[in-house]
Every structure is written in C-alpha cells, then in structure tokens.
C-alpha cells in the first residue's frame, strides 16, 4: 500500500520524501480538525455533567 504510493509519486527520491511529508501533514490535519472531534463525541470519558 505505502509502496504503491511511493511508486506513484514522480520525481527523484528527495522529492518523493517531501511529497510524503506534505501528505502525512495533511492526514494529521484532517484527523485533528475533522475526524477526532467527531470521534470524541462517542468517547465516554469526557462527561462532566450530572443528569442527561
């Protein structure tokens, strides 16, 4: 899977590495801003209120 991505990126090795860094940063950013906030609503450990 990761080998496929590596092969799909054109250019020399250093360029591939840079593109990978950008891809990793993008994936982390999507996780932090979209995925994790959504996921945290289903996590049980953030409840601070009594009742409903």
């Amino acid at each position: 899977m990761y080998a496929l991505i590596w092969r799909a990126i054109p250019g020399p090795g250093w360029f591939k590495f840079l593109v990978c860094l950008v891809l990793v940063f993008g994936a982390v950013a999507v996780c932090f801003t979209e995925f994790f906030p959504w996921l945290s609503d289903y996590m049980p450990f953030n409840e601070t209120t009594v009742g409903a």
Partner: protein, 280 residues
C-alpha cells in the same frame, strides 16, 4: 550455474515468479523448474500481498489511535486554553476604569442584584475566579452544558434553568477536569472556606466552599435549588444562595462526578474595586 542464470533457460511461467523460482532446489531440470508455477508458490503471491496490506493497515490504525490520544490529551488543551483566554480578552471587562479601583470592595450581605438568564445557549454572561487555582485563573461562563458548543469551546457551562449568580437557589456549573482547557482541573484541591468568585458585568459574587463530595452521574439532586433534595421529595422554597461545581471523577473517566457546593458570602458592585479574595 546460479539460479539467476538458469532463469534464462526456463519457460515463461518461471520468469513470472522469479523469487519463487530462486527458492526452489538447485539445478535446472524441467521437473524442478516447473514445480513453483504449479505448487504453492504461485497462489502465495496474492496472499503475501494481502497480508502485507493488512499489516500496513493495522500499523496505520495503531498510529491513528496513538494520534487520537495525543489530540485528546494535549491538543484539545492547547486549543481550549487559548480559546478561553481569548474569550476573556474579548469580553474586555478588566479595562473598565472603575474596575481598576485599588481598594477592596465593600461586602454587601443583603439580597444581591440578579441578572436574567441568557436566552440563547452559549451566551457568555460571567467570569469565574478561583484563587485556589492560581492568581491568574479567570474562565468564561456561558449558558448551557452542551459539550460541543459550551464545554469544549468556551469553558464553564451553566446548567439551564438553575439559579443565576446571587439568586436564591443553586447556581450550578459544569466544566472539564481534563482536556479542552480543563477549567476544573484542580477541583479536588478546593477546601471548605475557599473562595469561588463569580463576576457578571456589574457585580462581584463571592461564594465560599461548604462541601466537596463524589456522586454518581444520575444524582441530579446536587444541582437542585436546595442541594440534596431528590425529585421524589417536595422541593422546599430555597432560602440560601448556593453555587455547585460539577466535573468528572476519577480523572479521565466518566464513572462518577466530583461535586463542590458553596454558599454566597457577600456581593459588591464592580465599580468599588475587587473583592479582597482577589487582592492577594
């Protein structure tokens, strides 16, 4: 002769699977050469590929889970603390000239002015000072206890339909004890007699802690107008002005709730300076 050299002489099927071919017994006889293409080696390739992809997916899932922990325990705190201090700065109550008066405010023990409960959820109406949590502790208080719009983003939430600051009844608040700026992180350090100072735009309300306890989440009587009176009992008319803080307990868990009760000691208009509890 090596296997690589032997590869030039064998049928096409073995060139397609050169690795499997190299693993085979040495020699280039037709019997040996044919074995990989017919036997276990040929179907092994897709299986090995599948296992490889599965492994990569599992490694990825592990990294994402680890990243989630980093986000939850660290990043929500970074964002929350920044957002909360920005909100305090935007409210800009400190810069009012009368708030700079050097003298300690007079202590009024009569009925205090009580503001109306904000109609819209998320409406900011107060700031909270807790000297026990540090001299620079100021957190915004907003209407409602919705997690996404108040507790995660603003800080301290006011239970809808409970009393407002200074009113007879129970001014009930909730906030995170861990993560999201954790306004009530040190709630367990509060001792009886500690000051809980609430400021609305025009009035200081100084409450003193009277009780700390741990209850279950379903024990809603802690935020009743008279704390401790359960719903199956007749609610007496409240004669005291309570404050109640709720947060999670134990930390990083939702099993129980940490509860702190307090009672109003005095109030003073903002124009006369700060309460003495905040002067130290």
């Amino acid at each position: 002769m090596t296997h690589a050299q032997a590869g030039h002489n064998v049928p096409l099927s073995q060139e397609v699977f050169p690795i499997a071919y190299q693993r085979g017994p040495s020699g280039m006889g037709p019997r040996n050469a044919r074995r990989p293409s017919r036997g276990s080696a040929a179907p092994m390739r897709p299986v090995a590929w599948l296992i490889g992809v599965l492994g990569e997916l599992l490694v990825t899932a592990g990294l994402v889970l680890g990243l989630f922990v980093v986000w939850q325990l660290w990043w929500t705190d970074v964002e929350g603390a920044r957002a909360q201090s920005e909100i305090i700065a935007e409210m800009d109550w400190e810069s009012a000239p009368q708030a700079q008066a050097p003298a300690a405010a007079t202590e009024n023990h009569g009925p205090p002015p009580v503001m109306e409960e904000p109609l819209e959820a998320g409406g900011l109406f107060a700031q909270m000072y807790v000297p026990r949590f540090g001299d620079d502790y100021i957190k915004p208080v907003a209407e409602g206890t919705d997690k996404a719009t108040v507790l995660d983003t603003i800080g301290i939430g006011h239970y809808v339909d409970t009393a407002m600051p200074g009113a007879l009844g129970n001014f009930a608040l909730a906030a995170h004890r861990t993560t999201y700026g954790k306004p009530f992180n040190q709630i367990a350090e509060l001792k009886d007699g500690d000051a809980l100072v609430v400021r609305t735009k025009d009035t200081w309300y100084v409450y003193k802690v009277t009780e700390s306890k741990i209850v279950y989440p379903q024990n809603v009587e802690v935020i009743a107008p008279v704390p401790g009176v359960t719903s199956d009992q007749p609610m007496p008319e409240p004669t005291k002005r309570f404050i109640t803080l709720t947060s999670c307990h134990p930390m990083f868990s939702a099993t129980e709730r940490y509860i702190v009760h307090g009672e109003l000691e005095y109030w003073s208009p903002v124009g006369e300076g700060k309460p003495k509890e905040l002067m130290g």
